[in-house]
Symmetry: C2
Subunit: 322 residues, 2 copies
DNA sequence: CGCCGTTGATGAATCGTTTCATAAGTAAGA
DNA sequence: TCTTACTTATGAAACGATTCATCAACGGCG
């Protein structure tokens, strides 16, 4: 009935008496309006989709919080999904988002190949890429300068006198992983050293378990690097557990530096030097970019790429006691 | 068109030729079916709601993973929301779930008062309470035996000779917080000691920040307890950071024991003794209970309460070096 | 007394999918 | 050849909220 709809959505357009009568009926019947019917009528939902590669990573948890706050302010809900670094899961979730006619999507892509958001553009669902820089041609993005982050980490280690540095990071395709490594290499060149100062220790995933695995391989290297730079903090934590068990002292025998500066970096075995990556802010800015794209003109929108600056946070894991 | 629906949902009931024709049309038009229309027709969605008190807590992240796996196996999606320990946010999200006609809801209640799931029962949305024991009268639940957990922690500390033990935990209303404390008290009684062996250090939230705050108060106590039992690991991490900065040695000056055994307990400053709380299994079992309640008979379902056993994991934070 | 403007209530149409009853077409058996 | 059984395709109705055009009621004013 049209009047009920008015009571709920435009209470001022309806007389005091009718409103009271309708409200009473709603109470008695325990009526709860159906969001699917509203959505069907409206043609789009009141939700944003957020697809990250690892919900277990505190970095993404913080990013999600930033997104949720911004979305909440706009009266939108957020649905957080986990692609678990699997491209097929990523496609499945993006299709899900398309079927749900999400108002917009925030995506941390699994790899840098292709344009996984194409499923969304068919439905005119705007997409903002988070935590990965991409060109401005197709989508907006919010990321941090990963080359700079790698550079900061590299300079820090080189200044401390390290001459053989391991880099622990995931598959080459990930722009992020490449960029951090590139930053490290740039620092090496700055210092006038050769590129083989850097030893790669590849991993497939970016969690603590993979870190432990990498730790074992790292210990076996000969000559063993005196420092290790990890593509994220979880890897660093895993490495520290392993090398600690093997009797390798951090930072004396091995300096360790992580990336992201998650909450637990400060509390860990040896407080971890890390590159602070502003997670919540990335989430918040990305949501705001998305809202801006939604808001006024469907057309006449120019895609933006925001790049934030990372910051080195020095702790015990790279600084021997005086 | 009915035929299209058949092609998508019952491809075997339609001739090879028509199917190909329809599929081709779908490709060309870039058709994506509307989930809201499906839901409207079906009267219910294909989603489970999961409402936790802190998405930043790795314990709940693990619980969510368990839930997602089980739900995925049943072809259902999961929407994870964060009540942030706020009763009003909890009600808001439960109303949202009701409006979305969620297939079922998993709820970690903010406190033990009332029955927040009543909003759901009006819509016949089944609810399973996770990580909090409740009576079997109204809903199913999956929890761990928190009294036993507290007892294990208490025995461990008392056996090590501690005679003054701080308990750091949130508001009294939380059954969980009470139970863990009760377990501790039971251990104290077992040992033939008086109840004032236990000193309460109350906190409002269960995160690292509150832990740091509690740490400051703990240091100020006189006489200072020689051991502290925390209602969760995040509190313990916060406390360890604070007391470490203040020059208090763990475990020599202060033994610390946490609860949940999150991934980071093992990797932290001083590896943390904790009570293992099977997060992923709670999430999985709860989802399975929910699916069972959904499956066959809307009526004739008897609510179940599953209680899992916690397990003490001893690490350095309570064991001085030999 | 009649006309007009305003305010508030009503009901039909719509969104896109599924379901169900019916129709059309085909093959087999009497 | 006609009926029967069976397969496959078609079209209408329904889900529930919203929107919009229409309508009724009422007060003011000429």
């Amino acid at each position: 009935m049209g009047t009920v709809s008015n009571v709920l959505n435009r209470p001022d357009q309806v007389s005091e008496q009718t409103r009271a009568r309708v409200q009473a009926a709603i109470e008695i019947l325990g009526y709860v309006r159906s969001e699917s019917a509203r959505q069907l009528r409206a043609g789009r939902s009141r939700m944003l989709g957020l697809l990250v590669t690892d919900t277990g990573n505190p970095f993404f948890a913080a990013l999600a919080r930033g997104t949720e706050e911004a979305a909440d302010r706009a009266g939108l809900g957020v649905m957080v999904c986990n692609s678990a670094e699997s491209p097929s899961a990523e496609q499945a979730y993006l299709s899900l988002f398309a079927e749900q006619r999400m108002r917009g999507v925030l995506l941390a892509p699994v790899d840098s190949h292709g344009a996984p958001w194409h499923v969304l553009s068919r439905q005119n669902i705007p997409c903002v890429v988070v935590d990965r820089a991409v060109g401005e041609d197709e989508v907006c993005s919010v990321a941090a300068d990963d080359v700079l982050g790698g550079l900061l980490a590299g300079r820090h280690l080189l200044k401390a006198g390290h001459r053989r540095i391991a880099y622990v990071g995931g598959p080459e395709q990930l722009r992020q992983v490449r960029d951090r490594r590139d930053g490290l290499l740039r620092a090496v060149h700055e210092a006038g050293m050769s590129a083989d100062t850097v030893v790669d220790v590849p991993v497939h995933r970016h969690d603590v378990r993979s870190g432990r695995d990498a730790g074992h391989r790292l210990i076996g290297l000969s000559p063993r690097p005196s420092a290790v730079f990890c593509a994220n903090d979880l890897l660093a934590l895993g490495i520290m557990q392993t090398v600690f068990d093997a009797g390798v002292r951090v930072p004396d025998d091995l300096a360790v530096i992580g990336y992201d500066d998650i909450e637990f970096a400060e509390a860990c075995l040896i407080p971890l030097t890390s590159v602070r990556h502003p997670a919540a802010e990335i989430g918040r800015l990305a949501a705001e970019l998305l809202l801006k794209e939604l808001d006024p003109a469907p057309e006449g929108h120019r895609h933006e790429s925001i790049v934030l600056q990372p910051e080195l946070v020095v702790r015990r894991s790279t600084v021997p006691r005086a």
